[in-house]
């Protein structure tokens, strides 16, 4: 697409090309909008469920390429312009994916380093190895009194910690999030629903899941408060929560 011209003559007009491209881009946009609306007809929707997201991304890349290539003339313009624009574009995409992979690592810790195993859980309680509190929570004389106090206070302290540390994955109301935290408001518990078991799960984390070992950042008092609060959520069955997972208690 070279438009070399003599001095004094006008460059070739692209008017027609622009209008056609505008029509094509409009059609593509209407197709894009139609995709989320397909949910209305579940048969078509589920038939190609895995295809919709890649299709939207491909259409977006097409539009991007058309505007940059034709409206901005980068396709037929000098290489220097291409280098100036495309290299930072790739750098931006690289940082985008780097940040993305970081988020996966951050929220799904690898390895069994400090997480509990099924054997540990069978005993119901494993003393924390970090952050103190070697005694089981029920061994404390003040355990019952502390629980009653917490109950009277509406488990406010535990709720506070829950909101800042747990709601990220378990949702503010404890209903859980797909792929992240389980529903804490039903009556099903994969690793036990007694306070001691909850205390253990919270302090030790669960291997192979997004649940971290909170004993690294909370002391036993805090862990206990959260366990009390989580226990208090039992059976609330908030709306839109995750389905029941694990044995009923």
């Amino acid at each position: 697409m070279s438009h070399g011209h003599e001095v004094g003559t006008l460059p070739h007009s692209h008017k027609k090309q622009y209008i056609i491209l505008g029509i094509v881009l409009s059609i593509v946009t209407f197709i894009e909008l139609g995709i989320p609306l397909m949910k209305g007809s579940p048969e078509i929707w589920t038939a190609a469920k895995e295809l919709w997201a890649p299709l939207l991304i491909v259409l977006s890349i097409f539009k991007f390429g058309a505007v940059v290539g034709d409206f901005m003339h980068l396709r037929s313009d000098f290489t220097l312009y291409k280098i100036l624009f495309i290299s930072p574009l790739f750098l931006a995409m690289f940082s985008f994916f780097a940040i993305g992979s970081l988020s996966v690592v951050h929220f799904q810790p690898f390895g069994k380093g400090y997480a509990i195993t099924a054997q540990d859980l069978s005993d119901g309680y494993v003393p924390p190895t970090v952050g103190g509190g070697a005694e089981p929570p029920w061994a404390d004389d003040k355990f019952e009194a502390a629980f009653v106090d917490a109950q009277k206070g509406g488990f406010a302290k535990g709720k506070e910690t829950f909101t800042t540390s747990c709601a990220n994955c378990h949702r503010a109301d404890g209903g859980g999030m797909p792929g992240l935290g389980v529903n804490l408001t039903d009556v099903c518990y994969k690793h036990g629903g007694k306070i001691a078991a909850l205390y253990t799960t919270i302090s030790k984390g669960v291997s192979g899941t997004a649940m971290p070992a909170w004993q690294t950042s909370m002391d036993s008092e805090k862990l206990r408060q959260v366990a009390y609060y989580v226990h208090s959520l039992k059976g609330l069955n908030v709306a839109g929560g995750r389905d029941c997972e694990g044995p009923k208690e």
């Binding site: 692209h14 949910k39 991304i57 000098f78 503010a172 999030m177």
Partner: protein, 215 residues
């Protein structure tokens, strides 16, 4: 700077679009202003890349609602998206008319582009207002609020700057302070900026809005 070697190289490179303001071409025969704009747009790629990346890094990690699905209205966003896309067509037609030495046609298209852009900003103001007052989503509400408003707010600011630029350019054309043909590169560079703002929205619309509705 040797860039001021007047008319030393005049628009004779193959594939060149045929413009070039006097004495403003560099040693490669490329207009400095256009080279600078492409370099700037390259840096803008990284700017918006990090804003969009940050949005996705924190996506789904808000402590509480409202969540994207609670606030997004696909109808309103679709209309404004369509308007912005069409403004790219009118912008391209404006640049083309300027190169064809038809300044009045160019001005009409430039003003039309400005009007479409201003309508887009209007829709965004309406959207932000609704999110803030009715859906109770503020900049400080959650990670979603912070990242969403920062990302789309910066984009809206870019559109606003573009609208101001378009209006100024149309005034310059009216006052005959912009020589059609020769100084068409000034309009072309403005067009590059405008199209860039459009492609940023193409990405945001698909990745932030449409993909949200697939879930």
């Amino acid at each position: 700077m040797s860039a001021h070697a007047e008319n030393l190289i005049h628009d004779d490179a193959p594939g060149h679009e045929g413009h070039g303001a006097l004495s403003e071409n560099n040693f490669l025969g490329l207009p400095n202003i256009k080279l600078a704009m492409w370099a700037f747009l390259g840096s803008e790629c990284m700017f918006f890349g990090s804003l969009i990346g940050t949005y996705f890094f924190y996506h789904g990690n808000s402590l509480g609602g409202p969540l994207p699905k609670d606030v997004f209205s696909i109808g309103i966003t679709s209309i404004s998206t369509f308007l912005l896309l069409m403004s790219s067509v009118t912008m391209a037609l404006g640049v083309d008319a300027m190169k064809q030495q038809k300044p009045l046609t160019a001005r009409t298209f430039i003003l039309l582009t400005a009007a479409l852009g201003a309508t887009f900003v209007g829709f965004q103001v309406f959207e932000f207002h609704e999110f803030y007052t009715e859906k109770h989503l503020a900049l400080s509400t959650s990670l979603f609020g912070s990242t969403f408003y920062t990302m789309t707010g910066f984009h809206g600011t870019h559109v606003t700057v573009g609208v101001i630029w378009l209006v100024i350019m149309s005034i310059l054309i009216t006052k005959k302070k912009l020589v059609p043909g020769k100084e068409a590169v000034n309009v072309e560079v403005m067009g590059l900026y405008w199209h860039f703002v459009d492609i940023v929205w193409i990405v945001i619309f698909t990745f932030v809005y449409l993909l949200e509705f697939l879930k």
